[in-house]
């Protein structure tokens, strides 16, 4: 089977996500699809999987043009898409999951359990997987879950399987198991698309690569001709000269220091943020940076190692203590973690200071209003009135309100996780200004971001994380996208 995509174009509103992309794949090949966040990988594969419709272009299977109105049609044509969030029912057994939605029945209309078990066994044996078909899926490790998804695709007689970041939540031995499985399928003539950020893995498992950048296919070839550094360069393209906003600072005293922090999602991380410094922390999906700082903030997994604030050791047991220590935290995913949709802007922007401005439990409403007005001016939050519901504000203004609640507590150290996520360009610049101003006033800031551009612009130096460890630190002239990408993809290790 040979798949060809030609001139695929797709826009979302004014945003051109794919600009005439060509892509092809033959049976028996593993092709890695590479690209930064927002390069168009998912869009391209969603078109192939029937989830999205393209604006222009064509898809050919063995030279025959096809079009998919939905995932079912795509699957019927032999293309299976395994999404990053697996679609398995944890409380059913392996064989029940394999036959979910297409259960075999006896003539009497009851489930034909013996036949389903037998066919499941046959399928897994064919894939050389030793797995009890009666096992509950919940108890299986992540690699087997991935394998069951693949087996399900195979039972639907898929000849092309798209795997979206299949290794992002797997440990090394689990990754090996999935790779072995992928090689077996390749031997059986199945074509695989492997979407990944981890270039070291890509060079090991894939036969070919295809790199998307800003909606265009910028490079394709055999992985035997390219090493990880070359691929990282393709992903980033030419280094964009970015004007760094942060000035060189003279060394001052340490505010937030971490010593060999180790938890479930991060290993042996140390750093030291000084007063007035903005430390960038970046990496790709599954790098563990959010988990790390959530733990430091007292809301994540337990860790070993030591944290110091102004030289004194501390460990937060819950987030309430963070206020007293003067540590602020702006979470990622504003909608889920940041805003409280049943409260107005004023309350969303004041919740952190309530304990501080109340007497006998009663909130001093005048003081609340004063503090909020002060922040609204300082952060240039656009509101008709403070009692507007938070959900009626634009993304950028919502984010500023979330920031405002912490600023009113006058924190010593701020942890900002993806602070410009989902805000427009203008608001983005304003948020950068706010962050820089806070640093000027002497706060120690950790800026977590997946955008290398943002890190380069705002931070004086940055840690690049890979799979839970610090892959390297960049500063000065080394703060370039290419170097960051090289470290973040594990190519530097």
């Amino acid at each position: 089977m040979k798949l060809t995509m030609r001139g695929v174009t797709k826009s979302f509103g004014a945003n051109k996500v794919l600009r005439g992309v060509d892509f092809s794949l033959s049976g028996g090949d593993i092709c890695a699809l590479l690209g930064e966040n927002g390069a168009g990988k998912s869009t391209l594969m969603n078109i192939l999987g029937g989830v999205l419709q393209m604006d222009a272009g064509e898809v050919l299977i063995d030279g025959e043009p096809v079009s998919f109105a939905g995932p079912k049609e795509s699957l019927a044509a032999g293309i299976a898409f395994i999404h990053q969030e697996l679609n398995l029912i944890n409380d059913l057994t392996v064989y029940e999951n394999l036959f979910l939605g297409r259960e075999l029945r006896t003539r009497a209309g009851t489930l034909d359990i013996p036949r389903m078990r037998a066919e499941s066994r046959r399928m897994l044996e064919g894939m050389r997987i030793d797995l009890d078909v009666n096992a509950m899926v919940r108890g299986l490790d992540a690699s087997y879950k991935q394998i069951i998804e693949i087996a399900r695709a195979m039972m639907a007689s898929a000849s092309i399987i798209i795997m979206d970041e299949p290794t992002s939540s797997l440990t090394d031995p689990e990754i090996e198991r999935v790779f072995a499985m992928m090689r077996t399928l390749r031997g059986q003539g199945v074509g695989l698309v492997f979407i990944s950020h981890k270039l070291r893995e890509v060079t090991r498992i894939a036969d070919r690569y295809a790199v998307l950048r800003d909606g265009e296919m910028v490079a394709q070839g055999d992985t035997s001709d390219a090493d990880a550094s070359t691929l990282a360069r393709f992903m980033v393209g030419h280094d964009v000269r970015t004007e760094a906003l942060s000035r060189d600072r003279k060394a001052s005293k340490s505010v937030l220091r971490a010593e060999r922090l180790t938890g479930r999602s991060f290993r042996d991380v140390s750093f030291d943020i000084q007063a007035g410094e903005i430390l960038g922390v970046t990496g790709l999906l599954g790098d563990g940076r959010s988990e790390l700082f959530l733990s430091i903030f007292g809301a994540g997994e337990p860790y070993t190692g030591n944290m110091y604030l102004d030289g004194k050791p501390f460990r937060l047991r819950d987030t309430t203590e963070a206020i007293d220590y003067g540590i602020a935290y702006l979470p990622r995913n504003r909608k889920e973690n940041g805003i409280i949709k049943d409260m107005d802007a004023l309350e969303n922007g004041s919740i952190v200071v309530w304990p501080r401005i109340s007497a006998f439990g009663f909130i001093d409403r005048r003081r609340q209003r004063e503090l909020f007005d002060e922040r609204t001016r300082g952060l240039r939050i656009k509101l008709t009135k403070p009692t507007d519901m938070i959900t009626s504000l634009s993304g950028g203004n919502q984010q500023k309100v979330v920031l405002a609640k912490w600023l009113s507590s006058e924190p010593r150290a701020l942890i900002l996780d993806n602070p410009t996520q989902g805000v427009d360009v203008g608001a983005k610049e304003e948020i950068y200004d706010i962050i820089l101003e806070l640093a000027r006033q002497g706060a120690a800031i950790a800026l977590l971001s997946s955008e290398a551009q943002e890190i380069i612009r705002v931070c004086g130096r940055a840690l690049v994380m890979y799979h839970g460890t610090v892959a390297g630190e960049v500063q000065g002239g080394a703060m370039r996208e290419r170097e960051i990408m090289r470290l973040a993809t594990g190519a530097g290790i």
Partner: protein, 337 residues
């Protein structure tokens, strides 16, 4: 007129509840009839009927106040009826003037005994609530399951230890509920109003009250804003325990006895109904103390109306069901419109 009505209808969540209550009151007034000798006579009857409604529902109304906070926080409490019975039994055992009276045998009688009885009752209610809170927070049990368990435990233990025991409640204790003002038996209503005012102020003006809303609306965001989510949840269950205890003391002082098998049973569902009819969202984060008071009244007035119309008692519960379902359907439409 209709336009204005509609604008207000979609504008304020309490408006629709209030409007529903007014419709109920009009129907009830019509059902009461005008067949009286004079206007004064009619007004007297009407007012007495109302006083009865309020007095009979003060107990549920007080529990529903606590239930409002629990539901806003995203939880539920099924154990209020059993807490009521347990506290009632405890208080009566303490103040009993019969041979088994605990305080009497310790030589404490009169007002000190009543004070100890009330304080112990409130404390016991709070402690039972706190136990539920710990099961929900530390034990990470779903509130439905935690309180289903404590509901069974409280009633069963109470019934076991009160077998064949009929305490005598001293006459002065009855004054708590039966003290007359201007010849009217109005004390339970006053307690209800006072507690409703307290709950209203807590929910609007205090850190705790606003934290309850934050936790119910987005627990994760609340936690990441430094809210002690576990403490808020424990407080909420403790408060409803105290409200159940208050309701128990009220009942003991009104009736002077308690049927341990049946007292308070069904209170949890009545309280939940009142809260829901009052516009509080079952999924948490959105709720109104005043709405709960209106919701309690809607159900109460409807009961009274059915009574006046001579609807057989067994059928009345069905109307309650219709009201709850109808209220939530209406609120859903308002939310999407």
């Amino acid at each position: 007129m209709i336009g204005w009505f509609k604008r207000r209808w979609s504008g304020s969540p309490l408006f629709s509840t209030g409007a529903a209550l007014i419709v109920m009151i009009i129907l009830q007034t019509l059902a009461l009839g005008f067949d009286f000798s004079s206007f004064g006579d009619w007004l007297g009857r009407w007012a007495m009927n109302w006083l009865n409604i309020l007095r009979n529902n003060a107990g549920i109304g007080i529990i529903a106040l606590g239930m409002t906070f629990v539901i806003i926080s995203g939880g539920i409490d099924l154990a209020v009826g059993s807490t009521l019975v347990a506290v009632g039994a405890l208080v009566m055992a303490l103040i009993d003037t019969g041979p088994r009276g605990v305080l009497l045998n310790m030589g404490i009688t009169g007002v000190p005994a009543y004070a100890i009885g009330i304080i112990a009752g409130i404390a016991a209610g709070g402690a039972l609530g706190e136990a539920t809170g710990l099961l929900v927070t530390k034990g990470k049990l779903p509130p439905f399951i935690a309180t289903l368990g404590t509901m069974k435990i409280c009633r069963s233990v109470t019934q076991h230890f009160t077998q064949g025991y009929t305490p005598a409640v001293p006459k002065p204790f009855l004054q708590i509920a039966s003290f007359k003002i201007g010849g009217l038996l109005i004390m339970p209503v006053l307690y209800w109003i006072a507690l409703a005012a307290v709950f209203y102020v807590i929910s609007k003006r205090t850190t705790f009250g606003r934290h309850v809303i934050a936790v119910g609306s987005n627990e994760r965001a609340a936690r990441l804003s430094g809210v002690n989510v576990q403490r808020v949840k424990r407080m909420v269950y403790m408060l409803i325990g105290v409200m159940a205890a208050a309701s128990a003391i009220l009942q003991v002082s009104r009736i002077g006895s308690m049927d341990y098998a049946n007292a308070g049973s069904g209170n949890e569902m009545d309280a939940i109904s009142a809260v829901i009819v009052g516009g509080t969202s079952m999924s948490g984060g959105r709720g109104f103390v005043l709405g709960t008071v209106l919701g309690t009244l809607i159900i109460a007035v409807m009961n009274n109306l059915l009574n006046l119309l001579g609807v057989p008692p067994f059928l009345r519960e069905a109307f309650k069901g219709v009201i709850v379902i109808g209220a939530v359907l209406l609120q859903k439409r308002e939310a999407t419109s």
